[in-house]
Symmetry: C2
């Protein structure tokens, strides 16, 4: 029953559904790492609670916490959230959790990517990452789902799919020499096709400016439905983000998806550039391996880093002048979902946002033949 | 949903089913403690695997393992066994797991007893036990069941119920000053009635000779059906077990159950007295708090320490002359179940047996009114 399959999802007739397809629920992890999260992670925990509470209004949420934090997490999270013991090195469930695939006959299985903390000893964000590397398998056990062990070093935040054969990713991440230097682009595409059952890979160049994940696409661009994508944007030519978004737009405007459709691109204006404050550099544990946090460093803030739940969108807010317009745009793009904002600066300080700390479990579907 | 209720099962209309009623499944823990289990717990792990495999032929089994042993447990246990991360101080799921109660409307909730490692600093078996004390709550979270926090210091192996209002226990354990010295017998009975929804408590005196749990009833005596109990027995008047079993027989023969029925007592002859060998004292981690293991010490071996599964009995075997008769007797007493024996001496060396390392989750039942 809890088998690791030697085959691939493609060979077995499984595919990855898009995030906007129906979910069984959502998984998260509980933050506690003292060199990522300031002040004993208490401000970050408060933000994670807000995210968990918002999502659990739409679908069941399970949070993994270490033994040391289990009682605190159980007590702090809403009763509707299930809290299970899962050790981890940090709290990025999108990147360390499984990518769950479905076969149209009600079955779920999970892809367990190889994980090296976003670059291993060549630019990775911490060492060691042995606890992170077991999270996906542990989630799949609790979900009673079988497992594929993929040969790619990759994270769940480095790609998006439309559920109809198209995948978007970035060269900055997937072709980085600190992930799979022994594989060329064609081999990586072949692996993505085999493990996600996609037929077309759209390669953007770079992720959001200053994103420490080596350019995860989930902070830059996502599908809102098949054939339509949403791209973080700025009109300020002096902002380094301008060229990144401009170049992504050019690629997206000329590409077609797996079914041959041109892509409609919606732009969502980024929040004004924001930087780490002096206060926000205090209260972190000393660490030789952690990325240093310096006052004045630009944060990789983007509204694209939202979670699509059953009937809902849970999106980051930054107390920024663009918050309102971003919410309104998402409400227009997702007319059947309720848009809920969560002030997520504390998550951003740790290096990611709402999409990075969540991972959906799709509903097992039964296709009518 | 994952609420801790302030009320009691009795007040809310929940009762504890007997072990012979239908199960959803069975929970275990994975042994690793180096001062309980010799040779890095490898021989014990092999025995636990045999038990898990035997039970999983009858009902779903989930095993909890620490992060450090998770990969090994997952790899060693059969694929049919679900392996989840649960930290513990040792591997006695009967005693640290929840006691699950049902309400006749399909709902399950669990009683989480207070745990002090069989006596705390006054005769307890190790220190600390903080990880054990969270196991029951963690099991209930994964099972999505609510929780009652009982005020009694007690373990699941210290009582048996018939599912029809009767509980059997021992004075040696439940009235021990190292469990609930602030409560008298009447108060303890009232608590048992409130948390298990029983109406009658049958008090035996002592548990099996040399049992280090302070006389858990589950090694001495159990229900085989309402109105019928099974008692470990010896005809050897020179064996200290003789008087213990004789006295228990006298009490059981004169008591009636909650429904006023006299109890039918079946005797099951114990294995011949067996002692720890010199080799079995080797390969243990040094520990100031662990009970010393000495060659020649009598082991508390009993056939009563079996697990009742859906359609099966998984019982301990000792390569003893009485094994065959014990199996035959259980087959007669449980005519609708398949009796499977597991050679369990390695579990016995750690201080318990098959019943001690398992905990059933009853089926949520819907009573016809």
């Amino acid at each position: 029953m809890f088998r690791t399959f030697d085959s691939t999802p493609q060979a077995d007739g499984f595919r990855m559904p898009a995030e906007f397809e129906p979910h069984m629920g959502c998984w998260m992890l509980w933050p506690e790492r003292g060199d990522t999260w300031r002040l004993g992670a208490k401000p970050a925990q408060a933000a994670f609670i807000d995210v968990a509470e918002a999502i659990s209004a739409f679908e069941p949420v399970t949070a993994g916490a270490s033994h040391g934090q289990w009682e605190n997490a159980r007590s702090a999270l809403p009763e509707s959230v299930r809290v299970v013991e899962i050790s981890s090195d940090d709290a990025w469930m999108r990147d360390v959790g499984p990518t769950v695939v479905v076969d149209g006959r009600g079955n779920l299985r999970g892809v367990d990517w190889r994980f090296n903390a976003w670059g291993g000893l060549d630019g990775g964000l911490y060492f060691p990452w042995d606890r992170d590397s077991r999270v996906a398998a542990k989630v799949l056990e609790i979900e009673r789902a079988g497992r594929y062990r993929a040969p790619l070093v990759m994270e769940g935040g480095s790609f998006h799919v439309d559920g109809q054969g198209t995948l978007i990713t970035t060269r900055e991440c997937l072709l980085n020499r600190n992930r799979n230097p022994h594989l060329d682009r064609e081999q990586i595409e072949a692996s993505l096709m085999a493990y996600l059952n996609v037929q077309k890979v759209v390669w953007l160049d770079k992720g959001v400016y200053m994103d420490e994940t080596d350019g995860h696409v989930d902070n830059l661009c996502c599908f809102v439905k098949p054939g339509e994508v949403l791209l973080t944007w700025t009109e300020d030519r002096g902002d380094p983000q301008y060229d990144i978004s401009r170049q992504a737009l050019e690629i997206l405007s000329t590409e077609t998806d797996a079914r041959g459709r041109p892509l409609v691109v919606h732009k969502i204006h980024q929040p004004d550039p924001m930087v780490v404050s002096a206060a926000e550099c205090q209260g972190l544990d000393a660490s030789e391996t952690a990325k240093p946090r310096r006052a004045g460093d630009r944060l990789a803030a983007s509204y694209v880093n939202f979670y699509i739940a059953n009937g809902g969108i849970v999106m980051p807010l930054f107390d920024d002048a663009h918050d309102r317009a971003a919410m309104d745009l998402l409400a227009r793009l997702f007319p059947d979902r309720k848009v809920v904002g969560v002030r997520s600066r504390e998550i951003l300080l740790g290096g990611g946002n709402i999409h990075c700390i969540t991972q959906q479990i799709p509903m097992g579907e039964r296709r009518v033949r």
